[in-house]
């Protein structure tokens, strides 16, 4: 049973992939936009931080589920 819980925690950690793709996309597009319009960089970066935060939330949920499962393992 402990082994299955550990495997479940590992699978939950796969949820981080989504957050990583989201943050990578957002940052890439923001850098592109800044290169095109350097004078708007303040607005772009604040929008980027917001987008990154929202994308990151999914990874945080995956992390929490993984942590909850890991704390279940009492050897």
């Amino acid at each position: 049973m402990t082994g299955l819980i550990a495997i479940g925690a590992g699978i939950a950690a796969l949820g981080c992939i989504g957050g990583a793709i989201g943050i990578g996309n957002a940052t890439g597009k923001a850098v592109e936009a800044m290169g095109r319009q350097p004078e708007a960089s303040g607005k772009i970066s604040s929008a980027m931080i917001l987008g990154c935060a929202l994308a990151e939330a999914t990874a945080i949920y995956a992390f929490l589920i993984g942590l909850l499962l890991v704390f279940k393992i009492t050897v």
Binding site: G42, K43, S46, I49, L50, C52, A53, E56, A57, I60, Y61, F63, L64, L67, L68, F71
Partner: protein, 222 residues
């Protein structure tokens, strides 16, 4: 989750109120902020001296952030936003002092989320009146009513979970590093402290404050 560390108990009306470490740390932060603000705002002058210049820089910075993100008519939120900035920043960087940041416990962050929730709803009620506030739930079309209600309730939950998860992840990783290094924990944890405490704490504070500001504006103008 792990149990919160209980430092002492206060007997009150037959109940024992348990005081956790995170609460004592927050009292400490509140005391620091109050004492600093009393000390720094004594005998203000037209021509600022050194300490007044620093304080003015901070106030100006927060006002500028509020102005660019929310607009001129929301400048009344500067004290609230500034307090959030200081309080969250001090809570997040507590790992630098060898203590555990209070924000690694979920009750602390859900309290911050609840404060934001109440401020957002109260400001919307103040702007639109009670009836206008409830009509706002049915915009843009009536069938969206349950989704709108869910959105309002999920906002503080997601805000607090984000802060809590990030800080907890940082402290767990720092704990693993200290455990694996054992007695040889010299110089290696310094850049990691820099990243997980200073950088991550500041970024999380910025995100919390930004989302608070954006949501106050969004919901007040629905």
């Amino acid at each position: 989750m792990e149990e919160a560390k209980i430092l002492f108990e206060i007997p009150l009306f037959g109940y024992n109120i348990q005081i956790a470490e995170s609460i004592v740390l927050q009292w400490f932060i509140i005391a620091v902020i109050v004492i600093l603000s009393i000390l720094l705002t004594r005998n203000l002058k037209k021509e600022p001296d050194k300490k007044q210049t620093v304080v003015e820089m901070f106030v100006n910075g927060v006002s500028n952030v509020v102005r660019t993100n929310m607009g001129e008519s929301y400048l009344g939120f500067v004290p609230f936003i500034g307090t959030l900035v200081l309080f969250l920043l001090l809570m997040n960087i507590f790992g630098l002092f060898g203590l555990e940041p209070p924000t690694r416990e979920y009750p602390v962050t859900i309290a911050m989320g609840a404060i934001t929730f109440i401020v957002i709803q109260a400001y919307a009620i103040k702007e639109h009146g009670l009836i206008g506030y409830f009509i706002g739930f049915t915009k843009p079309i009536v069938p969206l009513l349950p989704i709108n209600i869910m959105e309002r309730i999920m906002l503080p939950v997601s805000l607090s979970l984000r802060l809590f998860g990030n800080i907890l992840a940082g402290t767990v990783i720092m704990g693993l590093i200290y455990e694996s290094l054992g007695k040889f924990a010299i110089a290696v944890p310094v850049p990691l402290h820099f990243y997980f405490d200073l950088f991550d704490g500041t970024i999380q504070m910025v995100i919390f404050v930004m989302l608070t500001m954006v949501n106050i504006k969004l919901i007040a103008e629905h």
